[in-house]
């Protein structure tokens, strides 16, 4: 049973998942469920073909947003974590060396630590306490047997945008592939994979792409040798049904089992919504609000804001702590007394918090989205000021 009360919510947890979704997303999902409903690629009837069109439309939308020439290079997964696991576990073997950074989410670190136990060597390049990475440090970490560099495009804790294209150039000069975790950046930053230089780009559909949960994927670039890239899951694809051997072509090699078609219908609509407005325009609006939020927080006595503090170098994700009040308590007061949804703690990124010096206590994170308004930011600032005063009186 829904236990939400009718109090209006000020949703500032868009880095966890975006909300609300555009009405077009819900309409597209309803249309698939009521008018199509079939399994794509499994049958030859019209509804199955229409379902295949829905899926392909989502591939085209992702490809257009990320500047990918061939929509068939978009491999759909359950989420960004699934996509990262596919790339890491599909490409790395015992004896390989992999380089990553000190700002990674557990969606990168946990599969890497599991691979490390199986004989993959892992190097973690430190970042500054603001989450800033020096690309030269990545190059210094490369070794003759380095197979991959994996790094986030933008931190999920403080939003710091990482120097991906610089790292890509250095990695490619050493014939090393680059895997980018775009969970936070896809849809939030104008991204062209050619400019970025990523060989593999993992994205999630339910954050800045405004789609539903259960969607995400991996862009597989032309430099990736498919013959050396193992799927996580094998099974039915609707193609090559006469064979008991997994297809070797994209995207079927990596897409066994029925896709989340209703989710992909919504994802395509979410991306179209963004493309109509322009990623750069949405980014500009969010940056203005983020600037106001950072300034307001920094001016509040007892508040410590983390990250660069420069909206040109970060997404609309802002982490802070309040002197005299634990992040968990701040989050509870924000929710109970102000109807503000924020995320507190370690954000599934203990390594990033160690880098920032906020481990194990964590931070309070406000993450703005496409529907956040100036009034929302002012409301959040008033709430934090009130909590800071209360903490100061203790």
């Amino acid at each position: 049973m829904n236990q939400l009360d009718p109090q209006p919510v000020l949703y500032l947890d868009n880095a966890a998942t975006s909300w609300p979704k555009p009405p077009e997303v819900i309409d597209a999902m309803r249309r698939y469920l009521t008018e199509v409903g079939a399994n794509p690629g499994r049958s030859g009837h019209r509804r199955s073909v229409e379902a295949a069109r829905v899926v392909f439309g989502a591939r085209e939308a992702v490809a257009r947003l990320l500047g990918v020439d061939d929509p068939l290079r978009v491999v759909f997964c359950a989420n960004g974590t699934h996509a990262l696991n596919l790339a890491l576990r599909g490409l790395l073997r015992p004896g390989h060396h992999v380089v990553t950074t000190g700002m990674e989410h557990n969606s990168v670190m946990r599969p890497l630590r599991a691979l490390e136990a199986q004989g993959v060597e892992v190097s973690v390049v430190p970042c500054t306490s603001q989450g800033v990475l020096d690309p030269a440090d990545v190059e210094r970490a490369l070794r003759p047997h380095t197979a991959l560099v994996v790094m986030t495009h933008a931190s999920n804790v403080v939003g710091t945008i990482m120097p991906v294209s610089e790292v890509a150039s250095l990695a490619h000069a050493h014939d090393v592939l680059l895997l980018v975790d775009g969970a936070q950046s896809a849809g939030a930053l104008p991204v062209s994979l050619d400019d970025l230089g990523a060989d593999l780009f993992a994205f999630t559909g339910h954050k800045a792409l405004l789609g539903p949960t259960g969607t995400g994927g991996l862009i597989v670039g032309e430099r990736v040798d498919l013959a050396r890239f193992e799927p996580l899951v094998r099974g039915g694809t609707g193609s090559r049904s006469e064979s008991q051997v997994q297809p070797d072509f994209l995207p079927d090699k990596f897409e066994s089992g029925t896709l989340n078609v209703v989710g992909l219908a919504g994802l395509a609509a979410g991306i179209e919504w963004i493309l109509e407005r322009g990623v750069a325009a949405v980014r500009r609006d969010e940056a203005e609000l983020t600037s106001r939020l950072i300034t307001g927080l920094a001016e509040t006595p007892g508040v410590c804001v983390y990250g660069t503090g420069d909206v040109e170098r970060q997404l609309s994700t802002v982490s802070f702590t309040l002197a005299g009040m634990e992040p968990g308590e701040v989050g509870r007061h924000l929710d109970d007394e102000y109807g503000i949804a924020a995320r507190v703690g370690l954000h599934c990124s203990p390594l990033a918090h160690e880098t920032m010096g906020t481990y194990p206590g964590g931070t309070v994170r406000f993450s703005l989205g496409a529907f956040t308004t100036e009034a929302d930011v002012e409301c959040a600032l008033r709430a934090v000021r009130a909590l800071a005063e209360a903490a100061g009186r203790r």
Binding site: P40, G41, R42, S43, G44, H45, S48, V49, A52, R53, V55, F56, R59, E60, D70, P71, L72, T237, G238, S239, R240, S241, E242, P247, F249, P251, D252
Partner: protein, 80 residues
């Protein structure tokens, strides 16, 4: 007695993804097509193929090649 002339051409592709990709390419080129189940006598796979009018065979082949759609086989057929 001469054999009847083909009415349609079927383009067999690796998957439904490729079929829709090809359909999009043909629509852009102003060519009509239908996605239909692959006839069992042509392939044992359970997917769909692109059916075009036999008269459009050449232009279809050109459009699919230009779009980079992988075609595994081409069959001229007599169909309703």
């Amino acid at each position: 007695m001469s054999a009847a002339s083909p009415t349609h051409t079927l383009f067999l592709v690796p998957s439904a993804n490729h079929a829709v990709q090809g359909e999009r390419a043909l629509l852009r080129a102003g060519l009509g097509c239908r996605l239909i189940p692959v006839p069992r006598d042509l392939s044992s796979q359970c997917g769909v193929c692109l059916r075009v009018r036999f008269a459009d065979r050449g232009r279809t082949e050109e459009a699919l090649t230009a779009a980079g759609t992988v075609v595994e086989a081409i069959h001229d057929v007599l169909m309703d």
